[in-house]
Symmetry: C2
Subunit: 370 residues, 2 copies
């Protein structure tokens, strides 16, 4: 037995040219047609209508046999389409962003798009724009900004989730803050709360100002006063102590304590989001207060864990996943050429979800107030 019966060792599957991957040319050679024809057929270009279906079948068969996969880079370079978008979030690990992204992703993948992500970590506006440039360099066809405030209109179609700045060419997906504020403060007022504390959002956050305005208006409407001593603004800065990205829970905890330390009585807190609400609740509990018996807390967003917290969190539900999906849908529409779709705002409805973290204002406290 010589070498003759030793079968040459070869990997299974179609053999590839030395270079590596199977290219369009290999397919073309296999069916004895030009690359142009093969390309047209594979893309179902209008001109492919002239190619008899028999030939088309031959091409498809060859593609399958060779397991041909078009080179994305070459294709995109030439056709100027990348089918990818960029997503910018404050911090990917925050439940808010994560849920919005889940909605974005759902729609994008369904449509054959992919996406790049970057967290700007509530750095400064210039980092945000730097990231935008980076994504543009990567040839994304559009951008979705989540809860991030744009300074200048980007050179690309863009949609901002929870954005409030009307910029040419960008659409903002927002909830109706007036209703959210009116519902929430109405709920608290009905429970007898008069001294209400507030967490105001981070300066960089797109929702902050609009929400705050809505709260001020709703408060006035209801005859409630928004006291400076009872409001704190979340900083949104990475906590230096841990050298880790901003931890919203910790911030809520810290500022919840701040509120307590100020010594000014309050019977309720309307937090900026669920995460800071949960942090604050922890601070209150640790200080020996009961929630909701001593102090009621309302969150915002209705993140998944809100309903499972103890107490179950009363909160303003934002349909985060849906907002992400809507944003993706609008963006793809715009990329697809719907110029008409450039409306500056798309509004979705919030819903006050009353759970266990709110209760009637305590008598004792109410008395002491006078």
């Amino acid at each position: 037995m010589g070498d003759s019966d030793v079968k040459p060792v070869r990997k299974r599957g179609p053999r590839r040219s030395e270079g590596g991957a199977v290219t369009l040319r290999h397919v073309a050679e296999r069916v004895a047609l030009s690359p142009a024809t093969v390309s047209m057929v594979l893309n179902q270009a209008p001109a492919a209508a002239a190619i008899p279906s028999e030939t088309q079948e031959r091409i498809f068969a060859a593609v399958r046999e060779l397991n041909y996969r078009p080179n994305y880079l070459a294709r995109s370079l030439r056709s100027r389409r990348t089918y990818s978008v960029g997503v910018l979030v404050p911090e990917i690990s925050e439940p808010y962003a994560a849920e919005v992204m889940s909605g974005i992703e759902g729609h994008l993948l369904e449509t054959g798009y992919h996406y790049l992500v970057a967290s700007h970590r509530r750095s400064n506006a210039s980092l945000l724009h730097e990231y935008i440039d980076l994504m543009r360099d990567r040839a994304v066809e559009g951008l979705i900004l989540v809860a991030s405030e744009l300074r200048q209109p980007p050179a690309l179609p863009a949609v901002v989730v929870s954005g409030h700045v009307p910029l040419p060419g960008v659409t903002n997906v927002v909830i109706d803050h007036d209703r959210a504020a009116a519902d929430t403060l109405g709920h608290l007022a009905a429970l007898g709360h008069r001294r209400i504390a507030f967490f105001k959002g981070q300066p960089g956050s797109a929702d902050t100002d609009d929400r705050w305005r809505a709260i001020a208006e709703a408060a006035q409407e209801l005859g409630l006063v928004v006291r400076p001593e009872l409001t704190v603004q979340l900083s949104g800065e990475p906590s230096l102590a841990t050298f880790s990205p901003a931890d919203g829970y910790e911030e809520g905890y810290t500022f919840g304590r701040t509120l307590l330390e100020r010594g000014v009585e309050f019977t309720a807190l309307f937090a900026f989001d669920d995460v800071s609400a949960i942090g604050a609740i922890r601070a209150f509990l640790d200080a020996g207060l009961r929630v909701p018996e001593d102090v009621s807390v309302v969150g915002f967003d209705d993140i998944q864990s809100a309903a499972y917290h103890n107490p179950r969190l009363t909160t303003v539900r934002q349909p985060l996943r849906r907002m992400g999906e809507i944003a993706a849908r609008i963006l793809l529409g715009r990329i697809g050429g719907e110029q008409a779709g450039a409306q500056p705002f798309v509004t979705v409805a919030p819903e006050l979800v009353v759970r266990g973290s709110t209760a009637p204002a305590p008598r004792r406290r109410a008395k002491r107030e006078r």
Copy 2:
């Protein structure tokens, strides 16, 4: 005065050729050099050493003036580098995945890499591999799989976070499950718990089997029995009721109730992760039980909210962010050609964090048991 003094209306900034973007050729023309030279200098190719620094300065100046930005697609096509990797997670909105991704992102962006994400939603193994192919088509240079079980070795460098299958060319970043199980069960045993319930992980999850094996061994070591009546396996399937992606909290709630309904007494639950632990706690509370007085609960992961839950969650800390970072670092090393780095496992240490959700086993229950 004719047309001559009407200045042509032009956008400000560097004028661009009709085509649109500034290309390498424009820069080359501006400095009266060949594109080859400009390219070499910009990339600091070895051959660029021969170009006098004066010329180099001229080139850089032109680049700035024209605001030249290299075309990513063209560059990648030619150089066969894309500086991007793919990240596959079960579901981007789950805290576990979100935190790991945060770590991954941190390292990648620092290094000039970008990443694509896709959630396979614990579908089936074939969808996972389909996504892998999709990412490969997008020319990613490597893959990071998070808590996802690989069937075949992918044709790309890959790192699996929480992976346990040794495959050629893939590195798994895992925690020491034996220690985690020993510590946790030791803690519970020391508190007098004998009848311990368990949540076993989803079938598709990479950690499930190894963790379970470690639990079984540790239990035996401690003389504890793992009773089938007291163990339930999380399904990981999207809940049909809500038609939304799998909600881990809800699952924890459901299976927490299941446990109760079985009517078999237990004084502690070792959940598969923090999310299911929180869901289960909610179920116990709703059933009128107190945590930890009536039943102790231990989670796994130490997600951010764990420390802020009520009660504060006792849990096994996995350094998720760091694991993500490690995964990214290893992957980039491998992409950079470190063949040596292909060790099958990298282990990080877990840490049992004892908080408020565990307490001594209740006397009454312990008595009844006999």
